[in-house]
């Protein structure tokens, strides 16, 4: 029992450290990739190739004044960034990062908790993050923030359904809710669910972007309309907590996507963890690419798109999958 507790705790610590570093370097990745797409160079001066830039940013943000507006609801204002940030990390509890390995004589599984309702956990916990957005928008006591918070909540409600339904196809085919079992079902590349659920994958991708509030669905922040929206009034570490939350959410969605559709950690030659990292990187790159290319949706168009296009398609996909399995 003690052994189990120690191994699990160690795994949690390792994952959190790796994840925080990952979040920091996602910002670097984003800045570099967007810069190259825009004929710029990106961060250059902190360390070789600007590699220390995320650390410099973090130090700067920590030393900034932590400012709370007069009209803010202090309690909710303090709570909101944490609520935005913790659920994104909790998703990783059920993500299988690697196959089982033997380390120092111990059998270590590549997943923190092989929950038998893992997919459900991902959906349930992942969408809690929006409470952070709503609370932040409401508690800031600023009109722009309030609008941003409202947009965030409306958007999440609209996309949550399609997001959930897009995964149902995989669950029907796999006949399981456990993440590690879904991975083991995709042993060879032809078993990847992306080939058996192409529509489901596209829907998942679209909804995932909306879930993480990334461009072109970045309405809650919309810097050119709402001046950064729900986090307008935040500064210092609180502000960066939102950012870490956003990037953690992106990585989480990348992990879930590669687990459900791209065979998880499986792949030839390279170690499993590396395969996982490559697949997550692809997701991140796609997000950044979209951000550099597409204009932003308008609030009502976003709703229309969610309810009138994505939602029916997701239902259709579920029904078709169900019919095929029945036959």
């Amino acid at each position: 029992m003690l052994e189990y507790a120690i191994i699990s705790s160690l795994k949690i610590i390792v994952i959190i450290v790796v994840l925080l570093t990952g979040c920091a370097y996602s910002t670097y990745l984003e800045r570099k990739v967007v810069a190259f797409m825009q004929q710029r160079i990106g961060p250059l001066y902190a360390g070789p190739y600007g590699l220390l830039q995320p650390i410099a940013d973090a130090i700067k943000l920590i030393f900034k004044e932590d400012f709370v507006p007069d009209r803010a609801e202090r309690f909710a204002f303090t709570l909101a960034p944490i609520i935005g940030f913790v659920p994104a990390f909790m998703v990783f509890a059920v993500v299988p990062f690697s196959s089982d390995v033997t380390m120092f004589g111990y059998e270590v599984s590549g997943i923190i908790s092989d929950l038998n309702i893992g997919v459900l956990w991902v959906l349930a916990v992942g969408s809690l993050g929006v409470y952070g957005t709503i609370l932040a928008g409401w508690s800031s006591g600023s009109k722009y923030s309030l609008l941003g918070g409202l947009r965030g909540s409306a958007q999440t409600i609209s996309y949550e359904l399609a997001y959930g339904l897009s995964i149902v196809g995989v669950i029907i085919l796999g006949n399981t809710l456990s993440m590690s079992e879904i991975v083991s079902q995709q042993a060879t590349i032809w078993d990847w669910y992306i080939f058996r659920q192409p529509l489901g994958f596209v829907l998942f991708l679209t909804c995932a972007i909306a879930e993480t509030c990334r461009a072109p669905f970045d309405l809650p922040e919309a810097e050119s309309e709402l001046v950064a929206g729900f986090h307008t009034e935040y500064s210092s570490m609180r502000f960066s907590t939102f950012f870490v939350g956003e990037y953690a959410h992106m990585i989480a969605v990348g992990c879930v996507g590669s687990t459900l559709f791209l065979g998880g950690w499986q792949g030839p030659f390279l170690p499993p963890v590396l395969w996982m990292a490559i697949k997550v990187f692809l997701f991140l790159f796609l997000y950044i690419w979209l951000r550099a290319t597409l204009p932003r949706f308008r609030y009502d168009q976003l709703m229309n798109f969610g309810w009138k296009v994505l939602f029916p398609l997701a239902i259709l996909n579920t029904m078709l999958t169900g019919l095929i399995v029945l036959w």
Binding site: Q39, Y144, E223, S224, E225, L226, A292, P295, D300
Partner: protein
């Protein structure tokens, strides 16, 4: 149940109001019930300043109004004073001015395109547009030494002759620009999100456009064919072959297409101007009004005296007043100069296209959504320096 609205101040410090425009919005949810643009945050008293300066000294003031199209402003003012003085400029000056004014149009439209796309969330566009603008600004630099506040035109001519590398630079730009335009089209014209965001947004009907005395792309976007370059040609525009781009629906998307088309037409004009650039002096020969060339000043007594007199006390136009309008990138830019016979203007009044086009803003945004406000401010293409002067 009583509907409750909240009032939001958009601006003066806001990333998408293109400077220090403030719009008081009364919103119900995300719908704009009432909008009121508030201006005056960038008032610099340029018109008044011009009244206290000698005629030729007021040229730098014009650069600072619409700082994105300095050459057009220079042109408008110089033409007005030349009209007042009855000066006929040499052919070469006319052609060079047309060429530079069209470059300015392209430059201004590029900045508009970039910032408008940025407001709508397509953030890469702004950097692509500024990359091309850089080529135009390099040409400015070669001509007048300055990149933004060029002050290159003089009353009766140009500050100095066109530089030797001028032709190479312009030809290089003419070669590059059409390719880049195709890239923009790929990125935006058929992009469904961009179309959704701009089509049927900020609509101005032809009737409204005329009643609000809109001009430039704002007027032509609604399908009204009026372009001073064709209707009241100035500076030799009648020698050039080009079409007037027209929109149909008067929405933001039409104006986007129209401005891209105007860039293409401007490229045509520039091509004709650079191919047919006549030889000749770069300043008119009007003793006592137009500065003589520097070499003459160094060798001829009369020239030296005129040079000295013009610099110190300027020249005195006859009593009277004149209006000269030109087709600036943003619309009709007019200079009304009234002279009382002294060496300083009695009154200089500018008809700024940005200011008058901006007045129609409430018309375009009331009833729309908050996101449309951004689109509408972008599509008017304002420069606050010109709105407030």
């Amino acid at each position: 149940m009583k509907k409750k609205t909240i009032t939001v101040n958009m601006g003066p410090q806001h990333p998408a109001t293109h400077g220090v425009l403030r719009v008081e919005l009364e919103i119900d949810g995300e719908t704009v019930v009432k909008a009121r643009p508030v201006i005056g945050y960038l008032h610099t008293g340029i018109e008044k300043t011009m009244e206290s300066k000698l005629y030729y000294k007021a040229i730098p003031c014009t650069d600072r109004m619409d700082y994105l199209s300095p050459m057009s402003n220079n042109l408008g003012y110089c033409l007005a004073v030349e009209k007042l003085m009855g000066i006929e400029v040499p052919e070469k000056v006319k052609w060079a001015r047309v060429l530079l004014a069209e470059l300015t149009r392209i430059q201004s439209h590029l900045v508009w395109l970039g910032t408008h796309a940025l407001d709508l969330g397509a953030m890469s566009m702004v950097l692509y547009a500024f990359r091309e603008r850089e080529m135009v600004v390099d040409i400015y630099e070669a001509c007048g030494g300055q990149r933004m506040m060029t002050t290159y035109f003089r009353i009766g001519g140009l500050a100095n002759d066109l530089p030797p590398e001028f032709e190479t630079l312009v030809r290089k730009f003419l070669k590059e620009m059409p390719k880049r335009l195709k890239d923009y089209e790929k990125l935006l014209t058929l992009n469904p999100i961009f179309i959704q965001r701009t089509k049927d947004i900020a609509v101005v009907s032809a009737e409204d456009a005329i009643n609000w005395s809109l001009s430039g792309p704002m007027l032509r976007g609604s399908g009204v064919k009026r372009d001073l370059r064709k209707d009241e040609p100035y500076s030799g525009y009648e020698n050039f072959d080009f079409d007037i781009a027209l929109g149909q629906n008067g929405d933001s998307y039409d104006r986007y297409l129209l401005r891209l088309e105007e860039i293409r037409q401007s490229l045509r004009i520039i091509q004709q101007a650079i191919d047919g650039m006549p030889e000749g002096p770069y300043r008119a020969h009007v003793p006592g009004v137009v500065l003589p060339p520097k070499e003459e000043v160094l060798h001829k007594m009369e020239s030296l005296i005129f040079h000295y007199k013009i610099i110190t006390e300027g020249f005195k136009p006859p009593r009277g007043s004149f209006y000269q309008g030109i087709e600036a990138p943003k619309g009709e830019l007019g200079f009304y100069i009234s002279s009382d016979g002294t060496n300083k203007p009695n009154r200089v009044r500018v008809r700024p296209p940005s200011f008058i086009n901006l007045a129609a803003l409430p018309l375009m945004i009331e009833g729309g959504l908050v996101a449309d406000v951004i689109c509408a401010i972008g599509t008017v293409d304002i420069v606050l320096g010109e709105v407030d002067r």
